[in-house]
């Protein structure tokens, strides 16, 4: 397979390993041969016939997805024969299609729509015949099937069979009565089942969660990393009017290929929480009072610099590496004996059978490795016990759920997105951004440090935790003095 084969595709010289398909070889020179049933993650079906290309010396057009390249092959993608074949496939696909783009969630990111606009006929010749009709079906927890829009590409069937390795879907019936069916007694409830919605090239498989929520052309898309577990799947956060409304997988062959699990896909609501801390709060006379950042930071620096014994950090493994590293620096500045720990929510591990080393991991936090690298330990219970008598407890976006109140007899410096009851006794409360509102990075369980970008503007005065902690560090009296001395 390592032998290189030379061929010509649409006038471009291409060199690719033997065994490569025409379709994949064409990608190497920037030519995307239109296709529906082919997907690099799935076994080749070769059935939509959209990728038919003209191959010199071949009497019939060949399916680019299923035809391996051969030396000296001359492939034409834009020739009359190939164009006519695609035009015909598009017309055939549309004769029973409802053409209901205005009410279809897929519109705007629909390959049937795109290719039809590109190369299809201006008008169909089927106009007078009734179209096939089948009612919408509920396939499972998050997936609706709209059979009338289906082009029978069988990507969903093959995903469940070959990737999830839990055969759930099938092609029922024959001829133009065919539709996607669910095996008797089965439901599309596999923890990775939502990927069939992404794989569906048309608006036939829809996410119930996203149903009628937005037109896709109104969405802003931001590269991010899923915070659901230690796998670190690459995702796109899709926002409309500053709210995250959809999460889609972002292909990364080293981490998650083309997929994300349903928990990661649907677990975004917290990013849009409305009950956020919107201003820094400091305790004055027993009351929490909103103040300017300068005031709050000065109070926080005062607490850190007070020097009344080691501080304890209670941090979240969902915080960015930058925040965790800054928190470690603050603790170090506090002096000898200061240390911190984190805890991780656990859940059942849910592997995607057909992809090596891809699973919804048992540890449901994105940055366990980053927290460990920053020097935080897993000795959570011991840290909580030490916190009680510590002079200062620094909390970084930890919910403190299940902890006895008060967490400490000393001072509580709370940095978080929301304010839990347990933290209401804090001396200083600083509002930080969540993963959608900042730039940062996570280290996944294989040690890969991955960057994520900001998808929405933070609420009120919230700032990234890394910025807050570095600002506290800069405001420390000793530091200020040292800096002054140097100057």
């Amino acid at each position: 397979m390592s032998d290189l084969v030379k061929l010509t595709i649409e006038g471009h010289e291409v060199e690719a390993p033997a065994g490569t398909s025409i379709l994949e070889a064409a990608k190497l020179v920037g030519i995307l041969i239109p296709h529906y049933c082919y997907h690099p993650a799935l076994p080749v079906a070769g059935s939509c016939r959209m990728c038919l290309v003209e191959v010199e010396k071949s009497p019939k057009p060949q399916p680019a997805c299923a035809t391996p390249i051969t030396p000296g092959m001359v492939v034409r993608v834009a020739s009359d024969v190939a164009r006519a074949a695609r035009r015909a496939v598009l017309e055939f696909l549309l004769i029973n299609h409802p053409l209901d783009c205005p009410i279809c969630d897929q519109a705007g990111e629909c390959e049937l729509q795109d290719y039809t606009h590109e190369e299809g006929r201006a008008a169909g010749r089927y106009a007078d015949y009734p179209k096939r009709y089948n009612p919408v079906e509920d396939f499972g927890p998050d997936v609706l099937y709209v059979p009338n829009r289906c082009i029978l590409c069988t990507r969903c069937v093959r995903f469940m069979e070959n990737v999830a390795q839990e055969p759930t879907l099938n092609v029922s019936e024959r001829g133009d009565r065919a539709r996607i069916g669910v095996f008797p007694g089965a439901a599309l409830d596999h923890p990775w089942a939502g990927n069939v919605v992404d794989l569906c090239p048309v608006g036939s498989l829809l996410s119930k969660d996203f149903l009628n929520k937005a037109r896709v052309w109104d969405l802003d898309k931001t590269a991010s990393v899923c915070g659901g577990c230690t796998q670190g799947c690459n995702i796109t956060l899709e926002t409309r009017d500053n709210a995250v409304v959809r999460v889609k997988p972002r292909p990364n062959m080293a981490v998650n290929r083309w997929f994300i699990c349903d928990e990661g896909r649907l677990g975004y609501a917290w990013l849009n929480r409305a009950d956020r801390i919107e201003a820094p709060l400091v305790r004055e006379g027993g009351r929490l009072v909103p103040v300017e950042w300068e005031v709050a930071l000065a109070r926080a620096a005062e607490l850190v610099g007070a020097g009344d014994g080691p501080a304890v950090g209670l941090v979240s493994p969902g915080a960015s590496c930058e925040a965790l590293e800054a928190a470690a620096r603050v603790l170090a500045a506090r002096g000898e004996g200061s240390a911190g720990a984190f805890r991780v929510r656990q859940g059942p591990e849910r592997p995607l059978a057909g992809v090596p080393d891809l699973a919804l991991r048992a540890e449901r936090a994105p940055n366990v490795a980053g927290a460990l690298a920053a020097g935080f330990g897993r000795d959570w219970d011991a840290a909580v016990a030490r916190a009680r008598a510590a002079g200062l407890v620094l909390v970084l976006d930890e919910s403190l759920a299940g902890l006895a109140e008060p967490v400490t007899d000393g001072a509580l410096l709370y940095i978080g997105t929301v304010l839990p009851e347990t933290a209401r006794g804090a001396v200083v409360i600083l509002p930080c951004t969540n993963v959608a509102e900042e730039e940062g990075s996570f280290v996944n369980l294989r040690g890969l440090r991955q960057r994520y970008a900001q998808a929405r503007t933070p609420p009120g005065m919230a700032r990234p935790a890394a910025w807050i902690l570095d600002a506290i560090l800069a405001a420390l009296p000793a530091r200020a003095a040292r800096a002054g001395g140097r100057a």
Binding site: P63, G175, A178
Partner: protein, 433 residues
């Protein structure tokens, strides 16, 4: 012979010699007629010798494609690294074709013998005999013969006492035309939906259960014992025409002829004589209008074209059609071509496996257009649309079901266009007048 008709003197009876003779169905009766001598002889030859003999005979696939059988066998790996399989395609579902049914009904041991010889030649220990689901009587007869063959030691771990394992299993289809397509047949045997597979890989490399597999038609395999017994050269000599078309061929003649039935003639036999002489010609007062010579999937011949067609692979191609399965549908002047073509298209639309877009949608659309034309509501552009669809349904799909729907449509419009136009012009009533 054209059972239930007595044999015609111009037939060359090889396969059909014992049609109508119930005794030939039994093991004893088959032995009495010289049966299983060829199997014994073959098991005494090397595998290469058997393949060579079949190559010499020029035997070509009788299922429709006409691929040389010996060459097909030689594609199987010489060095056996995993199981080899032979599939006998007894899913005879091509409209107008009923020759395999008669072979199985009257001479089940002839087929078993052919299967066993072929299995030996390709180093297959397991044969799947894939019988069409609707063939209840052939199934019963084949099963009885199979049981007898096992009881007599013809098959099994020590076939014919020669130390070779040959097992034959009957697999009954569930009523899908497409399962007669060889790769769909393999999927069906595996218990999967009967969808044709993409080639390559070809069955000889990756077939049933991922193992090298050969698929042969009932008539092809049934010819093999005769080739072994009487020699490939003898079989090759049975030709009236091209040296590339040899042996005898069973033609199933149906439609508006005096004596429908199966007729076995040598390759190259003139269609005209088969039709007018053997099958008794048209019914009184009727004239020939058209012939579909090779099962419903092939282009239609006009009466004029049919009259000088030679019945062999090359002869049919010369007339723009195909020998196919030898299922000959004869249409006289009482036949409405538009209706006939619609009826054929409806069959293909019903049987499309739904994989390829052109076939799934195109066959059904073709039917709708033809039905509208028949209903008197046709539009002037309809025929051009039909031809355009058919063009895009030809040579564009995984298997040839789509092509098979298009072929009769295209040939009918080209050759009988006035019949279509009468419907378009004045509606159904006028067309009949």
């Amino acid at each position: 012979m054209g059972f239930p008709h007595p044999p015609h003197p111009r037939e060359t009876q090889v396969l059909s010699r014992w049609f109508g003779d119930a005794e030939a169905r039994t093991y004893a009766g088959w032995i009495k007629r010289g049966g299983y001598a060829a199997l014994e002889q073959a098991l005494g030859m090397t595998r290469e010798q058997v393949i060579e003999e079949v190559k010499t005979s020029g035997l070509r696939g009788r299922g429709g494609a006409g691929f040389p059988a010996g060459v097909k066998w030689s594609f199987m790996p010489r060095q056996k690294t995993k199981a080899h399989y032979l599939c006998c395609n007894a899913d005879e579902s091509e409209p107008g074709t009923f020759k395999d049914r008669e072979i199985m009904r009257w001479t089940p041991h002839q087929l078993l013998e052919g299967c066993a010889i072929a299995a030996y030649a390709i180093q297959a220990e397991q044969v799947f005999l894939y019988i069409r689901g609707e063939f209840t009587e052939p199934l019963r007869i084949m099963q009885a013969a199979l049981d007898e063959a096992y009881a007599r030691g013809v098959l099994g771990a020590n076939a014919m006492g020669k130390g070779v394992r040959i097992d034959i299993t009957i697999h009954r289809g569930a009523g899908a035309y497409i399962c007669g397509e060889e790769t769909a047949l393999m999927n069906s045997i595996e218990g999967k939906r009967g969808n044709p597979r993409i080639r390559p890989p070809f069955p000889a490399a990756v077939g049933v259960f991922g193992c090298p597999t050969t698929i042969n038609n009932v008539e092809t395999l049934s010819s093999v014992p005769h080739i072994i017994a009487r020699g490939g050269a003898w079989y090759k000599g049975l030709s009236l025409s091209s040296p590339k078309s040899t042996g005898t061929k069973l033609f199933s003649i149906c439609g508006t002829v005096a004596r429908p039935g199966n007729y076995e003639v040598t390759m190259g036999f003139p269609l005209k004589e088969l039709l007018l002489d053997l099958a008794g010609g048209m019914r009184p007062g009727r004239t020939l209008k058209a012939v579909i010579p090779g099962g419903s999937s092939v282009p239609i011949l006009t009466a004029e074209e049919a009259m000088d067609t030679l019945l062999d692979y090359e002869g049919c191609v010369a007339k723009g059609t195909m020998l196919g399965s030898g299922g000959m549908i004869v249409l006289d002047d009482s036949v409405d071509m538009v209706y006939q073509v619609m009826r054929l298209a409806r069959f293909y639309a019903h049987e499309s496996c739904a994989q390829c877009t052109q076939c799934r949608e195109g066959t059904a659309w073709t039917v709708k257009i033809l039905q509208r034309i028949l209903g008197g509501e046709g539009r002037p552009a309809d025929l051009d649309v039909l031809l355009d669809l058919s063009e895009q349904m030809t040579g564009r799909t995984i298997c040839v079901l789509s092509d098979s729907c298009a072929a009769p449509v295209v040939s009918a419009i080209r050759k009988f266009r006035p019949e279509f136009e009468r419907y378009l012009g004045h509606g159904k009533a006028a067309a009949r007048a």
